[in-house]
Symmetry: C2
C-alpha cells in the first residue's frame, strides 16, 4: 500500500495547506453582522460572474455571489477543529512518536508553527485561551471527561490523601513560591523590585496549580500504579477550590495596603463556601439528572442531552457564584453516573460515553494547539532572573512539598507512598492551560502583567516538554510500581462485589461502620432516582460494571 | 406508584416554573462583556454576605459574589434547551395526546403560552428564528438528520418524481399563488393595492415551499406507503434550490422596474448553479469524509466529529456561495453514509446515529417552540382579505398542482399514484419555520413587510394545526395504502441483495443498463474511500444493512 500511503500524505498535506489558508482575512471574535437576507446580497456588480450581455450601466441578476462575514464564526471554528483533528490523526500515523513524546508536546509544536505563520502575515489568532471562551467552552468538556471516567473505588479509597495534597499542597506551593520570588525581587540585579509581595503571591497561585489537562495527557500513557495516578489526578481536579480562593484573595488584597486579620478569616470562610458550595451544586444537579432520566423512556433520542445539560448547568451556576466550577462539574458527574447509566438505554449510554470522550479529546487538542499559537503571537516581556528562579522554585517547592506532606500522610494510608512514588508525585506536577488563562485574566493595574504571562508560558512549556517527555523513561528507569492493567474478568468483578456487600453486612452486625456501609446504604436513594422498570438485575450489573474497565476506553 | 406520579408532576411543574423564571432580566443576544477576571468581581460592598465586623467604611474580602452577564449566553441557551426537552418528556407522559395531536402542535402551543408570559412582562425573546441563528445553527441538524436517515433505495427509485415535484411543483405554486394574490390586490376593498407583482411573487415563493421540519414531524406518525412518504419528504428537501433561486430573483427584481429577458435566462442559469453546485459540494465533502475515516483507526474517540464537521462544512460553504445549502448537506450525508459506516468502529457508528437524531430532535423542538413564542411577541399587521385569500390560494394551487403534475408523471412511474395518494401528497404539504425565517429576512424596503410576516405565520399555524391534526384521521378514513413496517429478516435482506447483484450482472451481459448497474459499479470507488482492513464480510454486511431498518430508530 505504499502508493496509497504516498497519496495519503499528499492529501493530508494538501488539506492542511488548504485549511491553513482559510483563516486569512479573519479577525477573531466578531459578532455576525445582521445582513438581513438569507441568500441574497445587495445587488453587486458581478465582476467575476458570467454575463450574457456585459453592460456597464445596468446590473443583471448575479449568478455567482459570495458572503463570507455571515458564516465567518461557525466556519472558522469548524476549520480550527478539523485542523486539530487532522493533527491528531497525523501523530498516530507514526505510532512510535507518540510512545516517547506526549501528544501535548506535539500539539504545542504544531501550534508554534501555525502561530509563527500567523504572526508572519500579521494575523491575529482567535481569542480562545485569552478570554471567557476558555473557561466557558473549552474547559468544561475536559473536566467532565475526567470526572465521568474517574475510577470511583480508588478515588474514594484515597480521598483523604487527594484532599490533603490538593488543599495543603497548593497552599504550600503558592506561599512558598510567592515568598521566595519576593525575596529574589529584592535583589537589585534582576530589576524586578517593583513587584510587591501580594503580586508575587498572586503569580505564585497561578503557577502552583497542577493542571488536569496536562497531567492526563501524560499519565494516560505512563502506566503507573493506581494510587499514584489517582492522587495526582484527584489533586489537580480538586485544587481548583484553593486556587480560586487564593486568586480572589490576593487579587483583592493586591489593591489594599493593609491586610487585616478579618480578611484572613473571611478567606478561610470563602474557602469553605467555594469548596463545599461547588460540591453541593454538583450533587444537586447530579441528582436532578438522575431524577429526570427516570422519565425519558419515551424520548430515548434526547437522553444524552440531559447529562450534558445538567453537568454544564452545574458548571455555569458555580461560575455564576464564583465558586469552584471544576469541583461542581466533577461532583455532578460522579453523582449522576451510576443512576443515569441504569436509567438510560444501552445506546444512549454508549453515546454519552463516546461523546464525552470526543468532546474532552477535541477540547484538549485545541487547548494545547492554541497554547502553541499564542506563545508566538503574545507580546512577551522576558527577564532571565525572574523566570529562571520561577522555574527553580516551582520545581523545588513541589518536591519539598511532596516529601513533607507524604511524611505526614503516610501513617494514615493503607499503602504508604515509597520514595519512588513520591518522585512520581512530584515530577508529575505539570502546569498547563489553566495557569495560562488565569495569567491572562490578571487585572491591567498590575504593572508587570506581561512578565507574569511570559513566565507562566515558560513554566508551562518547561513542565510539559521537559517533564512530560522525560517522565516515562525516568519512571521506567527507577521502576515505580506499575499498574496491572488487565480487565477484571466477570468472576473477579462478581466476587469483589460479593465481598463488599458481605463486609457491609458484617459491619452492620458488629456496629463498626466504614465506607462499605455508606456505599451500600446510599442505595436507599435508588427508588427516587431510578425508574421503576430498571432494577439491579444480573444483566444490568454486568452491563454497567463489567464494561467500566478502570483505565481503558476503546 | 400513584405517590411517585404525584411527586413527579409536582417536580416537573416546579422545575418548569424555576426555569421559566430564569430568563428574566436577560436581553437576547448580547456579546459577553470581557470582564477581565475569572472569578473575581471588582470589590463590591458585600451587602448580602456575612461579615465578621460590619464596617461601613472599609471593604472586606467578599464571601458571596455573583456575576451573571459573564455566563449569560451559554446559561440561557442551556435553559431554553432544557425547557424544550422537559416539554418533550411531558408530552410523552400522556401518550394518548401524541397519537392524535402531532408534537409540533403541542410545542407551538407551549411556545404560545411562554410567548404570552414573556410579552406580559415586556421581555424580548432570544432572536432565534429571526436571525442567522436559525439558518446557521438550527436548520443544519434537522436537515442532516433527514439526509442521513433517508431510505436510499426508495429515494433513488423515485428520484425523478421527487425532482419533478420539487422543481416544477414549487414553480407552479409560487407563480400561481403570486399571480392570484396580485389579482386580489387589485380589488380596492382589501386595501392592499400598494403591493406590486414582484412583491406578491416574492411572498408567494416564501410560502409555497413545503417545509421538511413540519412534514417530518407529522408523517413519521402517519404510516403512509413509502412511495408517498419519499416523494413528499424528498420534495421538501430538494425544493430548496428552487426557493433560493426564486427568492433571489424576485428580491433582485423587486427593485427594478423592468425585467429583461436576459434576467430570466440568468435566473435559469442560476438555478443550475444553485442546484448542481449544492449537490457538487455535498458529494465533494461526502467523499472527503469517507476518505478521512480511512485513517481514524487510532483515534476512534473523535471519529464521529469528522462526520459532523464535514457535513457542516458542506452546508457552510454552500451558504458562502449562496447556493442550496440544504441540498449540499443532504447530498453529503447520502454520499458519505455508506463508506463511513464501514470505516468507523461500531461504537462510533452508534454514537453518530444517536447524536444526529438527538441534535435533529432538539433543533426541531426548539424551532416549533420558538415559532409559538415569536407568534405572540412579533408585531402583527392583519388584513382579513389578504390573509384569507393567501390560505385559500395556497391550498387550491397545491391541490391543482398535485393533480396536474401527477397526471403528467404517472405514465413514467412503476407504481402510479392513485387519487388517494394524490390527496396525501397535496394535503401533506405543510409549511413551517423556513418560510417564517425567510419572511423575516425580507428587506426593509418592502412596504408591507409586517403583513407578509403575519400572513406567513397564519399559513404556518393553519397548515400545522388544521392539516397536521386532521391528516391522520383523513388518511385512515379514505384508506390510503399503508406501509408494511415489519423489519426485513436476514433472509429477506440477503435475498434482495442477491437479486440486485444478479440483475446487475444480467444487465452487464445484455448491455441494457439501469440503476442496478450504476449502484453496483460505484463500488469501484471503494478502495479509495474504504480502509484496507474493512471489507464486505458477511458480518459487516449484516451490521450495516440489517440494522438500517427503513423507518425505525429505536
Amino acid at each position: 500500500m505504499e502508493y496509497f500511503s504516498n497519496i495519503k500524505w499528499r492529501a493530508i498535506s494538501l488539506t492542511f495547506c488548504i485549511v491553513l489558508s482559510f483563516p486569512h482575512g479573519s479577525s477573531g471574535e466578531i459578532p455576525p453582522k445582521p445582513t438581513g437576507s438569507v441568500t441574497v446580497l445587495p445587488p453587486i456588480k458581478p465582476n467575476d460572474g458570467p454575463q450574457a450581455f456585459p453592460d456597464a450601466e445596468k446590473e443583471n441578476l448575479p449568478v455567482f455571489t459570495m458572503d463570507y462575514p455571515r458564516i465567518q464564526i461557525p466556519f472558522e471554528i469548524t476549520l480550527w477543529v478539523l485542523l486539530a483533528s487532522f493533527a491528531k490523526i497525523g501523530f498516530h500515523v507514526y505510532h512510535k512518536i507518540t510512545v516517547w513524546v506526549p501528544e501535548s508536546c506535539l500539539l504545542i509544536s504544531i501550534g508554534l508553527i501555525v502561530g509563527a505563520i500567523m504572526h508572519s502575515v500579521h494575523e491575529e489568532p482567535p481569542a480562545v485561551l485569552t478570554s471567557n471562551v476558555f473557561f466557558l467552552y473549552m474547559l468544561p468538556p475536559i473536566v467532565l471527561d475526567s470526572g465521568y471516567f474517574m475510577p470511583i473505588r480508588p478515588f474514594f479509597e484515597n480521598v483523604g490523601t487527594v484532599l490533603w495534597f490538593a488543599v495543603v499542597g497548593t497552599l504550600w506551593n503558592s506561599i512558598g513560591i510567592g515568598m521566595s520570588l519576593f525575596a529574589i525581587c529584592q535583589i537589585e540585579a534582576f530589576g524586578v523590585q517593583d513587584i510587591n509581595l501580594q503580586e508575587n503571591l498572586l503569580f505564585a497561585t497561578i503557577i502552583s496549580a497542577v493542571d488536569p489537562v496536562a497531567v492526563l495527557s501524560v499519565f494516560e500513557d505512563v502506566s503507573v500504579n493506581e494510587q499514584l495516578y489517582i492522587v495526582v489526578f484527584g489533586e489537580c481536579l480538586f485544587n481548583d477550590a484553593v486556587t480560586v480562593v487564593l486568586y480572589n484573595m490576593f487579587n483583592f488584597v493586591a489593591e489594599m495596603p493593609v491586610v487585616e486579620p478579618v480578611d484572613v478569616f473571611l478567606g478561610v470562610a470563602r474557602f469553605f463556601v467555594v469548596g463545599l458550595g461547588g460540591m453541593g451544586f454538583g450533587v444537586l444537579f447530579g441528582f436532578a439528572a438522575a431524577f429526570t432520566t427516570r422519565f425519558t423512556a419515551n424520548v430515548r433520542e434526547i437522553e444524552p442531552l440531559f447529562i450534558f445539560m445538567y453537568s454544564y448547568l452545574a458548571y455555569l451556576v458555580a461560575e455564576l457564584f464564583a465558586i469552584s466550577s471544576i469541583m461542581a462539574i466533577v461532583t455532578c458527574a460522579l453523582t449522576m453516573k451510576y443512576y443515569v447509566e441504569e436509567n438510560v438505554s444501552q445506546r444512549s449510554c454508549t453515546t454519552i460515553r463516546h461523546v464525552i470522550k470526543m468532546l474532552g479529546s477535541i477540547s484538549e487538542t485545541l487547548i494545547f494547539f492554541f497554547l502553541g499559537v499564542v506563545t508566538i503571537t503574545t507580546e512577551h516581556e522576558w527577564n532571565w532572573g525572574y523566570i529562571l528562579f520561577t522555574l527553580l522554585f516551582a520545581f523545588v517547592w513541589r518536591g519539598l512539598g511532596v516529601l513533607v506532606l507524604t511524611q505526614i500522610i503516610n501513617p494514615f494510608r493503607t499503602i504508604p507512598f515509597n520514595l519512588k512514588d513520591q518522585f512520581g508525585l512530584g515530577y508529575g506536577g505539570l502546569r498547563g492551560a489553566i495557569s495560562f488563562a488565569l495569567a491572562f485574566t490578571l487585572p491591567d493595574n498590575i504593572g508587570r502583567r506581561q512578565l507574569f504571562i511570559t513566565a507562566t508560558i515558560a513554566i508551562i512549556i518547561f513542565t510539559v516538554f521537559i517533564q512530560g517527555i522525560s517522565i516515562r523513561p525516568l519512571i521506567e528507569f527507577i521502576n515505580v510500581r506499575r499498574t496491572n492493567r488487565n480487565l477484571g474478568t466477570i468472576n473477579v468483578e462478581v466476587h469483589c462485589r460479593l465481598m463488599e456487600h458481605t463486609i457491609a453486612g458484617i459491619e452492620d452486625l458488629c456496629g463498626q461502620w466504614s465506607h462499605y456501609y455508606w456505599k451500600d446504604n446510599l442505595l436507599f436513594l435508588l427508588p427516587f432516582v431510578q425508574s421503576a422498570c430498571q432494577h439491579m438485575t444480573l444483566y444490568s450489573y454486568f452491563n454497567t460494571h463489567f464494561t467500566v474497565a478502570p483505565w481503558s476506553f476503546s
